[in-house]
């Protein structure tokens, strides 16, 4: 406020000095030439006022623009703290607020993810230990009673389905055998179910990953393959796991019909979920046109076990 007041006051003082010090006088009945002088003086003052105020308020406009476009899925967007004292303070407070929002979002997202994984584990255990046991019991009973094969096949199929869902909900292999084995099993199972040709290329010298990061890589691969089966109309899929710069990169590439740019950017549902998971572990996720058509999903996550 003081800055705007100072600008206006300076202009008024200058205009007053100009009137006092110059010989020009304004008479009660305004002459044409005097009118032109006044109009020019007024125009100069207005332009100067506009330019000075624009210079002063420009950082606020940038701040408003940033407030409109800031995306918490893309952390690190900050404004430089420069300009007048008030503006610098405003930008500084806004940047601090973004810091807090990003931290809060990361922590709440992590808590939500942990809760989701715990719930998945609980459901998977329930399916495996209870429903699975019941179905196994029914199958044994049917075999004992010598029922027809059709009924037994239906129960066997239900049992298989329960095991498959339990396995998808809780990737036990990830805990016991690690990421590479889990992804190998995931892609083998996917190829079997979808009939698509899958090419795996997993590097030998991958750096270790933290548990939650491994789980994110696994979930993104799982979601990508599911999306391919549902929407891509692909015939071939490539799953690659390679070392990056202090990171691990997962690439899932298909040769299907591609993806609409706006869908890739705005990422409803599955894509948005993958992006959120990537951000939670400090990673980056790109959904883009593959080199030879189709879609490439690229996830890069930081290496390290801490």
């Amino acid at each position: 406020m003081w800055r705007v007041f100072a600008i206006n006051a300076t202009l008024l003082v200058l205009a007053t000095l100009l009137l006092v010090l110059t010989r020009g006088r304004v008479h009660a009945s305004l002459a044409f030439v005097e009118g032109i002088d006044i109009a020019i003086g007024l125009a100069v003052m207005l332009v100067a006022n506009f330019l000075l105020l624009r210079q002063t308020l420009r950082p606020i406009e940038r701040l408003v623009e940033r407030m409109r476009t800031v995306d918490l899925l893309r952390p690190g967007q900050r404004l430089r703290e420069r300009g007048g004292i008030e503006v610098t303070e405003l930008v500084s407070v806004f940047n601090q607020m973004l810091d807090r929002l990003e931290t809060e979002r990361r922590e709440s997202g992590r808590r939500a993810q942990q809760a989701q994984e715990a719930e998945r584990s609980r459901i998977a255990r329930g399916l495996h230990d209870e429903v699975g046991q019941v179905l196994t019991g029914v199958l044994l009973q049917l075999e004992g009673e010598g029922r027809d094969e059709e009924t037994k096949a239906a129960v066997r199929q239900a049992l298989e389905e329960v095991r498959r869902i339990a396995q998808e909900l809780r990737p036990e292999m990830l805990e016991h055998l690690g990421l590479v084995s889990s992804l190998t099993e995931l892609s083998r199972r996917f190829a079997e179910q979808s009939g698509l040709r899958i090419e795996r290329c997993f590097a030998d010298d991958l750096p270790p990953l933290a548990d939650d990061v491994e789980l994110t890589v696994y979930r993104v691969a799982q979601e990508s393959l599911t999306n391919i089966a549902r929407h891509a109309r692909a015939s071939r899929v490539e799953v690659v796991l390679e070392a990056g710069a202090g990171s691990v990169v997962l690439r899932v590439v298909d040769d299907g019909r591609g993806i609409d740019e706006s869908a890739a950017v705005n990422g409803q549902g599955g894509l948005r979920g993958m992006r959120e998971q990537a951000v939670l572990v400090g990673g980056a996720l790109a959904v883009k046109r593959a080199r030879h058509g189709g879609v490439e999903i690229r996830l890069e996550v930081p290496a390290g076990t801490s």
Partner: protein, 153 residues
């Protein structure tokens, strides 16, 4: 590979020059290179319109041509939206370690550099931005002058 460079090639002379810099830097440091062309304006959102398809087709052709010139197995991407925002978004998605943008000569005799995009990027991304000056003579492999702004605020 040791990291990722995202390079803007949207404006032909400055972009091509930036791609040369980024390509040379990528080859020397063994970095992945992603060339980006940003389609802005109405056509960016109307993919189904003729203008939108033409713009995208032009963007893809330009990217392919520049990628061939640069070599170094450059990846390409067409992004839609406001220039700096779209570029920042791609940088975030690709996990970029550096964004390279071109500068145009400005002022009397072209002695100054116009780098509006770099200034806008400064607020849109925390990734360092490298400004590739316009080339005035043939660049040898040994000469690679660049300005790096690592200030993220």
């Amino acid at each position: 590979m040791g990291g990722t460079i995202v390079c803007d090639v949207t404006d032909p002379p400055a972009g091509q020059n930036a791609a040369e810099y980024a390509g040379a830097l990528g080859a020397r440091l063994d970095l992945r290179l992603v060339l980006v062309y940003v389609v802005s304006g109405v056509s960016a959102v109307s993919r189904e319109s003729v203008t939108g398809r033409q713009d995208r087709s032009h963007a893809e052709r330009t990217l392919d041509a520049i990628a061939r010139e640069v070599g170094h197995e450059a990846e390409t991407r067409v992004a839609a939206g406001e220039h700096a925002e779209a570029l920042a978004r791609v940088a975030a998605e690709e996990g970029a370690d550096l964004v390279v943008v071109g500068a145009r000569p400005a002022g009397v005799g072209g002695r100054k550099l116009s780098w509006t995009l770099a200034r806008e990027l400064e607020a849109a991304t925390s990734v360092p931005v490298l400004l590739a000056p316009p080339s005035t003579r043939k660049r040898s492999d040994r000469r690679l002058a660049a300005t790096v702004d690592t200030d993220t605020r």
